[in-house]
């Protein structure tokens, strides 16, 4: 029981009014070079009052060890020039701004925007590289886009057993693959370039038109699996050449009491490379006649063909309306009709000529021709949302929301009962395509009470119901109850807390749907299984003085899966995260802060390692095994901002750190039996640590002209059992490991240093 003086003190604490507790941390933006700024207290440049900008030019030098591409990732940090240009003109009639960053490099960006009179315009060009790895290599050669070939002589030697091609056992690992010797090193990367413009025009105070167009091209390569059998897996560099064009337009009519809007969105994805054809590293000729076990022993075709993502389109029309009622009540709603479709030509059942013969067609007549020539794939969507909000007085209010979403797959069924596995073996174990229709009904009702000045208590209930086809449950419904409390606007403390409990129950369960796929009858898919979920977050900000704030946040969640008959699959999933942060800005010449966060994740899953029925193994619980995955992540961030380090000099320092320790622990009777047979070795933890240091020093000779020196340092260490190095050459990827030829792509350590020297001009 709270004593009266404490209660009064608490009430006083909660009623004082100030916005200071809401101040966000002022740490510098990460991974971006600080903009030019004259030191604090120095005379400002005498620029024209409404025109200003900066010219920031210089040079950059980068050295790396390890995987330089991973250091760069989404950036281009090659040694060379550096540029950042900004221009702004601000009048009381228009605003204009223009930007250019890193001109001529793969991460260059340009933008311009104009706002004035009755409208605004915005245009941009954005280039985002994705640098996978500098350490990759591949024996395949890209003859034409989408066709990858291997050295014929090498393949013949492998097929003859004269050399190791794809290591098939531990002994063969001691001999380098012939493909390692002919592999060409290359940088695995791709580039996404996006040009966009958008704008709006107000015909009148009440009528606005807005629209835009965006075109994004993606070119390069990405790692891609392209295999022929259980023991013949390939990772190749898939060529990528695609373009997405998006357009949108809307017309909005607004009055003081409400508004109405109609809009349209269109999107067209065009993949210029429709299929991938690649040579088999295990065979130079087709196995003839085909081997019914070819999918598991490698006796397959000389080449493979797969369909890469098809060109597609999306069109959506939508309408939105809002109306304001008395008193303080708003009703709004939207409805959208969407159609997604693609009609790419279908590739044949197989590229293997041994299977495309009358003899095979006699046994597998469906393989003689395709049921149809094109995909004819189509999904229609309908989405409707209705919101109701009323705040009749200062003490309470209600918010209600209803959402309906229908994902209706209208693709005609395709008979794939007879198909060709891995281009190697014709089989009759397939089936018809599945149409996963989803109808969602979501309802949410929340009531808030302003129990004290600046404190709001909210309670709510929600349901989220999914009706599905093609899944094991025809319906699943989440019921959620929640409560939250928010205390803000207080000079000293801000508290935000929320707790939610969700109970999910499925109905219309079909064990046949589970067993038809060959699954254990006790399996439940975790995206539809019965589940109890608890989630909560707490944010606590203390501002003991105007120049300082301390933040503590805690988030926790617990998912527990289990319903009638649920035995296998994901069983539970827990997470906790807490952060402690401090920001201190005692004067205009210094500010600093730090934040530490720790995340903890745990999940448990259960499975059974067995042969299919009628083998009694399938129902034998001694074949069960469990996996516990535990990950701990630490984050630490530190910054210091010294706008007046010395006369005419400012400085900034940032340091970020993140590490992870990810453990995979098997247990259960199957593990015990494997261990007893000497056939179980626990997997080592996957660990990584990442450090980044950034420093910036700027010296202004005069208010307009200065120089800047910046230093970036990054170090990434990683130990991951799924990346294999050449024996005796740590850090050099091994592309020829058991059962596969890969590119060597994976998480690898690096260390990078980048130095910038800049000339700064402000106007």
């Amino acid at each position: 029981m709270m004593h009266r003086p404490v209660a009064f003190a608490l009430a006083a604490l909660l009623t004082a009014a100030s916005a200071h507790a809401q101040r966000p941390s002022l740490q510098p933006a990460p991974e971006q070079l600080p903009e030019p700024r004259p030191p604090a207290g120095e005379p400002a440049p005498t620029a024209a009052p409404v025109t200003f900008g900066s010219i920031d030019l210089g040079f950059r030098g980068t050295t790396t060890s390890g995987d330089a591409a991973e250091y760069e990732r989404y950036r281009d940090l090659r040694s060379g020039s550096w540029s950042r240009l900004t221009f702004d003109k601000r009048t009381d009639m228009y605003l204009f701004g223009a930007r250019a960053y890193n001109i001529g490099y793969r991460d260059q960006r340009f933008g311009a925007d104009y706002r004035g009179g009755k409208g605004w315009l915005y245009g941009s060009f954005d280039s985002i590289p994705l640098n996978y790895s500098d350490l990759t290599s591949t024996p395949w050669i890209e003859q034409t886009p989408g066709q990858l070939t291997l050295d014929t002589a090498a393949r013949q030697l492998v097929q003859a057993g004269a050399v190791v091609g794809i290591p098939q056992n531990a002994a063969q690992l001691n001999t380098p693959s012939i493909y390692r010797s002919i592999a060409n090193p290359f940088r695995l990367e791709s580039l996404r370039q996006t040009g966009a413009f958008s704008g709006a025009y107000e015909f009148s105070r009440n009528l606005t038109f807005d629209g835009g167009f965006l075109s994004a091209a993606r070119k390069g390569h990405q790692p891609w699996g392209a295999s022929f059998a259980f023991n013949v897996a390939n990772e190749v560099a898939l060529p990528v050449d695609s373009r997405t064009n998006d357009a949108n337009a809307g017309l909005e009519w607004t009055r003081p009491r409400g508004m109405f809007r109609v809009g349209w969105n269109g999107s067209w994805y065009d993949d210029h490379i429709n299929e991938l054809v690649w040579d088999n590293a295990f065979r130079a000729t087709d196995t003839n006649p085909f081997d019914p076990s070819g999918y598991s022993n490698g006796n397959g075709p000389a080449r493979g063909r797969m369909a890469v993502p098809p060109s597609n389109m999306l069109n959506s029309v939508n309408a939105f309306a809002m109306y304001k009622l008395q008193p303080r009540t708003v009703v709004n709603g939207t409805v959208a009709f969407t159609r997604m479709s693609q009609n790419d030509p279908l590739i044949p059942w197989t590229i293997n000529p041994v299977i495309q013969t009358p003899a095979v067609f006699a046994a597998f007549p469906n393989l003689a021709m395709l049921p149809r020539a094109t995909a004819e794939a189509k999904v229609d969507g309908l989405n409707a949302v209705l919101n109701f909000t009323t705040r009749p007085n200062r003490f309470w209010g209600i918010t209600a929301r209803y959402r309906y979403n229908n994902h209706d797959n209208k693709t005609p069924l395709f008979d794939g009962t007879q198909y060709v596995r891995f281009d190697a073996v014709p089989e009759a174990t397939g089936g018809f395509t599945e149409q996963f229709d989803i109808v969602e009904n979501l309802g949410d009702l929340n009531v808030h009470f302003n129990v004290l000045p600046y404190t709001t208590l909210r309670v709510g209930y929600g349901f989220d119901s999914f009706d599905r086809t093609g899944r094991s449950f025809s319906n699943m419904t989440d019921h959620t109850i929640r409560t939250s409390i928010d205390t803000i606007g207080n000079q000293w403390v801000t508290i935000r807390a929320i707790y939610e409990f969700t109970d999910r129950k499925g109905s219309g369960f079909s064990e046949d749907a589970i067993e038809d796929g060959g699954s254990q009858p006790g399996l439940r898919f975790y995206d539809e299984a019965d589940r109890s979920r608890n989630r909560g977050t707490l944010l606590f900000v203390v501002t003991p003085k105007e120049t300082m704030d301390v933040t503590f946040s805690l988030a926790a969640g617990s998912d527990s899966y289990g319903g009638p008959g649920h035995e296998f699959g994901l069983l539970d999933n827990d997470n906790q995260a807490y952060n402690v942060g401090l920001n201190f800005y005692p004067s205009e010449v210094v500010s600093f802060g730090a934040n530490y966060g720790r995340d903890h994740f745990v999940s448990d899953q259960k499975s059974r390692n067995a042969n299919p029925p009628p083998d009694p193994q399938f129902m034998d619980p001694t074949r069960d095994w469990m996996l516990k995955n535990t990950e701990n992540v630490n984050n630490f961030a530190l910054y210091a901002d010294l706008p007046k380090l010395a006369r005419k000099t400012s400085a900034r320092v940032t340091y970020d750190f993140s590490d992870s320790d990810n453990a995979f622990v098997h247990s259960g009777p199957r593990i015990l039996s494997l261990a007893a047979a000497g056939q179980f070795i626990p997997l080592p933890n996957v660990t990584n640590s990442w450090h980044r240091l950034g420093t910036d020093v700027q010296y202004f000779f005069v208010p307009r002209v200065g120089v800047g020196v910046d230093y970036w340092y990054e170090r990434f260490n990683v130990r991951d059992f799924d990346t294999i190095d050449v024996p005796g050459q740590p850090g050099t990827p091994r592309i020829d490991y058991l059962g596969e030829i890969s590119t060597g792509y994976g998480n690898r350590p690096y260390r990078g240093h980048t130095v910038f020297a800049r000339l700064l001009y402000l106007f």
Binding site: Q22, P223, R421, F436
Partner: protein, 322 residues
């Protein structure tokens, strides 16, 4: 867009604007009692009468004591008839100032957003900002949690684009969503910390017709595939969890697992594929070092064969092998 004026620059701008205003016919126009939406009351547009014209004192009176710091922003555009600058200036938002002036600057006699509950303050903003991307603000997730316009935005003293109170969206959102922002520092992440994307690239914090405040589309998948259009399909052979939601397998905010997966392969796939033979095989160190089954552990793991995991358009693609 960016407003980066130092204090002396602002003073120069204000002084210049004062001179312009005093000699401009627009100054006289600004004193006319235009029926603007803002500052009359939170229920503006719902039948309440506007204040009398003689209750307004004019912006030049306000700036005798206060820095007028919205020049150079969208609010300061006189060319747009909907802005405060084209209407009653400071009093467009802060209400008629005569009582405040007569009261010797009594802060209780003027609309003072610092002392308001965020929800209440937001009702002033939405009298104008009630369209476009802001149309669904009232009743949205942030609004319900008493996160108001002034929680994130500052009309007079912004630090970043869109009049945000922080230099970047990531810094601002981290105020409340620190555990989410921390994921950006993991080994696999979207290019937000590099500056190529921002939180608002995917989310509309002002309200959305989609779930999770996603700004594009009507489902999670439609949002993700607005950029990752190669996964939009529809495909001949669909993968059930993909049709459900991308977040079944991926954590878009960041992960230490490859491809932003919520768990490492093959264990992620083994959460659902409990069949017979190779899917539920125990993938551990012995297989890793001694068997071709190592190709299910290293590198791409399951997707080295089942590459078309998001859906296949190949007739023989039922198991996503082609």
């Amino acid at each position: 867009m960016l407003i980066r004026l130092t204090a002396p620059q602002i003073a120069t701008v204000v002084a210049a604007m004062m001179v312009i205003a005093q000699h401009s016919s627009a100054y006289a126009q600004a004193l006319k009692p235009v029926a603007v939406h803002a500052a009359q009351s939170p229920s503006a547009g719902q039948g309440t009468a506007p204040p009398a014209a003689n209750q307004y004192v004019g912006e030049s009176t306000c700036i005798t004591c206060h820095d007028q710091k919205y020049t150079g922003t969208a609010h300061g555009l006189k060319s747009n008839e909907r802005t405060p600058a084209a209407n009653m200036g400071c009093e467009s938002c802060h209400g008629p100032g005569k009582a405040h002036v007569d009261g010797g600057g009594d802060p209780s006699l003027i609309v003072n957003f610092r002392t308001m509950r965020p929800q209440e303050a937001s009702t002033y903003c939405v009298t104008c900002h009630d369209r476009g991307t802001h149309a669904l603000w009232t009743g949205s997730q942030h609004d319900q949690r008493n996160v108001g316009c002034i929680t994130c935005h500052s009309v007079h003293d912004p630090k970043g684009d869109h009049q945000l109170k922080a230099a970047s969206e990531m810094q601002l959102c981290a105020t409340c969503h620190r555990n989410v922002v921390n994921k950006q520092f993991r080994a696999h992440h979207m290019p937000v910390r590099e500056g190529s994307l921002a939180c608002s690239s995917c989310h509309n914090p002002h309200g959305s017709q989609n779930v999770r405040l996603l700004k594009v589309g009507t489902t999670i998948d439609e949002s993700c595939t607005s950029c990752h259009a190669e996964k939009r399909g529809p495909f001949l052979w669909e993968h059930a969890p993909v049709a459900n939601a991308c977040v079944t397998c991926h954590d878009p905010h960041g992960s230490n697992n490859e491809r932003l997966l919520v768990a490492k392969r093959p264990f992620l796939c083994q959460r659902c594929h409990v069949t017979s033979r190779h899917p539920p095989t125990v993938y551990e160190g012995f297989l890793l070092n001694n068997s071709t089954n190592a190709n299910k552990i290293v590198g791409r793991s399951c997707t080295v064969c089942h590459q078309q995991i998001h859906g296949s358009n190949a007739p023989s693609g039922q198991f996503f092998l082609r």
